[in-house]
């Protein structure tokens, strides 16, 4: 049995003069305080990576900096799936009795610590060094390829994809920590600058500074009772050239395994936290996970299904698309928001019922997947 006992999240956007370690420290401080623990009670640390300040031993660098001497610590790297992969590992470490309280932390000054070009070049390296990268693709191009095929097979349109950007922006408007607070329309998304067809600027998440953290514990440490019910991963490929058919991608595999591991069904889920690096990512994952039928996710957005007061509130903080994306911390914000919803601390964003939550993360080009169910007990 494991619980998420505390969460911490900085605002996303620009944090001039703060380093990756500073942002990790801020989030960690918040999460530990939220759990009602002291630094000395943290006996495990899992952290992600920073493209701005790469280090071969980031977890111990952070532990020393933050003032913790853990009995278990290392970094984890699975691209955008890192946050949930760390949470899954923390769950198993705590469940196995290796450690009692694991701090999971990610943070990066990706926006102000390097140029946008540098971020785009760094991220494009998830491509094959010999057979893809020399062709000059970018992350939006990798996802643009997937989008072109998905639209072709399932009749999804650019206007359909724009709905997801509009929804995430609408949700971000009520979160003071979000990077973007200007409302947008479908027409705005369609008219935004082309990046890699069919994706335009507003189909893409931004580059951000920010940090997120949480504590996974063996016993509840406060009034919160957020239990990790079960989780699973799937890794089908690294490079988009080697990706399987759209009907055989990893999200379907990981969600099936997570359902089996937890005994939770999609019909039990009341709140969804799903990776949204691009509008196409969110559309595909919602359909792969069974939260909408093939080609019908956009129609569900239009009908309000995924809105704060809809049947399945989704990424009520604004997601990567509008809360922001600072790398590893990006998708961790989804879990922080889910925790606030589950513990009824989401203020003006509070949904009616977040008793059972589905989280899903994706790394690479739909390469690595982690699905997880949380339950308020």
């Amino acid at each position: 049995m494991t619980y998420i006992t505390g969460v911490g999240l900085t605002s996303y956007g620009k944090h001039e003069r703060l380093t990756s370690l500073d942002l990790m420290s801020k989030a960690a401080e918040l999460a530990i305080a939220d759990a009602g623990l002291k630094r000395a009670e943290i006996d495990g640390i899992l952290c992600g990576y920073s493209t701005v300040s790469p280090h071969i031993m980031l977890a111990t660098v952070f532990a020393e900096h933050f003032g913790i001497r853990p009995s278990y610590a290392h970094a984890v790297q699975v691209g955008g799936a890192t946050g949930l992969a760390m949470t899954m590992l923390a769950h198993h470490l705590v469940d196995a009795g290796v450690v009692k309280n694991v701090l999971v932390v990610g943070g990066e000054n990706r926006l102000t610590g390097q140029s946008r070009d540098a971020s785009i070049v760094a991220l494009a390296q998830v491509g094959h060094p010999d057979y893809e990268v020399p062709l000059g693709p970018t992350i939006p191009a990798y996802y643009g390829l997937v989008a072109s095929r998905y639209m072709h097979e399932y009749g999804v349109t650019e206007a359909d994809l724009a709905e997801f950007a509009v929804l995430m922006r609408k949700h971000a408007l009520s979160h003071p920590g979000a990077q973007f607070h200007k409302p947008i329309t479908v027409a705005d998304v369609l008219a935004s600058k082309p990046v890699a067809s069919p994706l335009k600027l507003l189909d893409c998440c931004p580059v951000s500074d920010g940090g997120a953290a949480f504590v996974v514990s063996r016993e509840p440490t406060n009034a919160a009772r957020v239990k990790i019910r079960g989780c699973a991963q799937a890794h089908t490929h690294q490079h988009v050239t080697a990706a399987p058919a759209l009907s055989e991608l990893g999200a379907e595999i990981s969600i099936a395994k997570a359902k089996a591991a937890s005994g939770v069904a999609i019909s039990d889920v009341r709140y969804a936290a799903v990776y949204d690096s691009f509008t196409i990512t969110l559309a595909m994952l919602l359909e792969d996970l069974g939260l909408a039928k093939r080609g019908e996710a956009a129609a569900r957005v239009r009908s309000g299904y995924f809105s704060r007061h809809g049947e399945m509130p989704l990424n009520t903080h604004g997601g990567l698309l509008s809360y922001g994306h600072c790398g590893v911390g990006g998708a961790m914000a989804h879990l922080v928001e889910a925790h606030l919803q589950m513990t009824e601390r989401a203020g003006q964003r509070q949904v009616r019922d977040a008793s059972v939550v589905l989280l899903h993360g994706d790394g690479g080009v739909l390469s690595s997947h982690v699905s997880m169910f949380l339950e308020r007990v």
């Binding site: 062709l135 191009a141 989008a147």
Partner: protein
């Protein structure tokens, strides 16, 4: 093992490997078959013919060398020999088009460039 010359090292050729044991083909070069592990396979030269699987026209590039080529069309092509590859393509290509490869200069390197078959 010496790498045979193909477009990735400046030769106008698309190569692939065909496993002598299980018959599977692979495009990313390795010293073994990624399906069955066999080290017995033939190095083959592809015809350059195939079908467009996906396309994305890059309008926002991130380096000075690639920016000079914007817009450029990144395509995934299913080669007639049974493997998928990434390449460049003409701006008007659509999914399902039958295509044939020539080679073009891009950011200081030779890259395969697909055009629609007449």
């Amino acid at each position: 093992m010496a790498k045979p010359a193909d477009w990735t090292n400046g030769e106008e050729a698309i190569l692939y490997q065909s496993c002598a044991s299980c018959g599977k083909v692979q495009y990313f070069r390795r010293g073994f078959c990624a399906v069955c592990g066999s080290t017995e396979f033939a190095e083959k030269r592809a015809s350059g013919k195939g079908t467009v699987y996906a396309t994305s026209v890059v309008m926002r590039a991130a380096t000075a060398e690639t920016r000079a080529h914007v817009p450029y069309n990144i395509v995934l092509v299913d080669a007639d020999e049974g493997f998928r590859m990434m390449a460049h393509g003409a701006g008007d290509l659509a999914i399902g088009d039958r295509v044939s490869a020539r080679f073009a200069a891009f950011a200081g390197q030779l890259v395969p460039f697909f055009e629609r078959l007449a």
